[in-house]
């Protein structure tokens, strides 16, 4: 008989800038190794997955990580006491720090996670990318973190325009002049604080890899994809799996060198000279992970197995030319549902 596993996760914001929650849940629901009960952890009471049919079994509101690690973890433990959680999958960069720091505490309470270490998390940070590239002999664009607006004027000494202006967790804008850098600096700092990362703009095709490392240097799965349609927020609205051995080798090399633990998304730009530049390494499963599931690598299921120490063999191959196309859908719900979550903090 299949064991029943309760998985709690965040990222239920299935909007035009979607979190990975729904695709991760879909993968877990399709598991052949276990049955699942899904607990959604919502930061906002209008996150669509809370109200979607057959997605979450139960939702609890949780405080933003910005309110403090202790507050967030206390709430998770409180939920765990009345609704026991086997595996917790955080799906946002911004909350990872809190959960990585509390990994031991959570484990002692019986909640399993499968996260990168703090060192791994810090090492691949956007602001540390040049050092990361040097350490592992990888091509990365030149970048520099800035914290003050008066540093913008001096950027022309080190960068050519256009350049990328990026938030430490999210948001990236292409800027053609100083004025645009200033505008984006203000926009980003208002949302994510400092530093803001200034990055060399590499012209080419944007390609990505979703991968899973076992923490000892082995790549358990990896699927490369090219975005075919990109929204104005830079998110993939459509993508296709690729047969690109170079991308796979690069992924394996990074996971082996870092001994990466958990899900990962590699964001690469393939230049016109067919060189691959690492633009970002996201420390979690991306929102397009269901493409990997559809192509034959159920990474969310694999992540749960790894978290629980279940037997897990690396995936072998995937289907090339598999596509995903996102869509939007108007979900009709009753204000009573909204009211319940808003007043009682659960639904």
């Amino acid at each position: 008989m299949q064991p029943k596993i309760t998985v709690a996760l965040t990222g239920l914001n299935n909007t035009d800038n979607p979190g990975p929650g729904v695709p991760v849940i879909r993968g877990i629901r399709e598991s052949v190794a276990f049955q699942s009960r899904i607990i959604g952890l919502a930061y906002e009471n209008l996150e669509p997955a809370i109200y979607m049919e057959g997605v979450v079994d139960k939702t609890y509101q949780v405080p933003y990580p910005s309110e403090g690690t202790d507050v967030l973890v206390k709430r998770i433990l409180e939920i765990h006491q009345k609704d026991p959680i086997d595996v917790l999958i955080p799906n946002f960069d911004a909350e990872l720090y809190a959960f990585m720091r509390s990994e031991k505490l959570l484990r002692e309470a019986g909640i399993h996670t499968f996260l990168p270490t703090l060192e791994q998390f810090e090492e691949r940070h956007k602001s540390n990318l040049p050092e990361f590239g040097r350490k592992y002999d990888l091509e990365v664009p030149f970048s520099k973190p800035i914290t003050r607006i008066d540093e913008i004027e001096k950027l022309k000494e080190e960068f050519d325009y256009p350049l990328m202006v990026k938030g430490k967790f999210y948001d990236a804008y292409l800027a053609y002049n100083e004025e645009q850098v200033r505008m984006n600096f203000n926009k980003i700092t208002a949302k994510w604080g400092v530093p803001v990362i200034i990055q060399e703009f590499i012209k080419g095709t944007e390609v990505n890899v979703v991968a899973l490392g076992d923490g000892t240097g082995n790549t358990m799965g990896a699927v490369p994809m090219r975005k075919q349609y990109i929204t104005d927020k830079g998110k993939a609205w459509s993508g296709i799996t690729l047969d690109d051995p170079k991308m796979l080798e690069l992924t394996r090399r990074i996971i082996r060198a870092m001994k990466w633990r958990g899900g990962m998304e590699l964001e690469l730009v393939k230049s016109h000279k067919n060189e691959y530049y690492i633009i970002e390494i996201n420390p979690r499963i991306p929102a397009w992970v269901y493409l990997a599931v559809g192509a034959g690598q159920n990474m969310p299921e694999a992540l749960v197995k790894l978290a629980l120490g279940m037997e897990m063999k690396p995936f072998e191959g995937y289907e090339v030319g598999k596509m995903f196309i996102r869509y939007s859908y108007d979900l009709i719900t009753n204000v009573k549902e909204f009211e319940k979550l808003s007043t009682q903090g659960e639904l």
Partner: protein, 84 residues
């Protein structure tokens, strides 16, 4: 001139490059030329086959043929040794 081995060409003339994710649609003539290239036929053979089948002289065909080959190169559909 050889088409890369992993390029998929369907009967409908749909060409898919699995390395880049790009896809293209060919008309009947383009499809035939790609099929001949896939059979490793020489430029002379292809010219002879096409001029016997269509109302075009060899000089005019070759002009269009090289233009088409240039496009295949640009789209990275030819083997690298043939692409320079």
């Amino acid at each position: 001139m050889r088409i890369k081995k992993n390029i998929a060409i369907s009967d409908s003339g749909f060409v898919f490059n699995p390395t880049t994710g790009d896809s293209y649609s060919l008309n009947q003539v383009g499809k035939e030329i790609l099929q001949y290239l896939g059979e490793n036929r020489s430029k002379e053979e292809i010219t002879s086959l096409m001029t016997s089948q269509y109302d075009i002289d060899a000089a005019s065909f070759e002009k269009y043929f090289f233009d088409f080959i240039g496009m295949l190169r640009q789209f990275e559909l030819l083997e690298e040794s043939d692409a320079t």
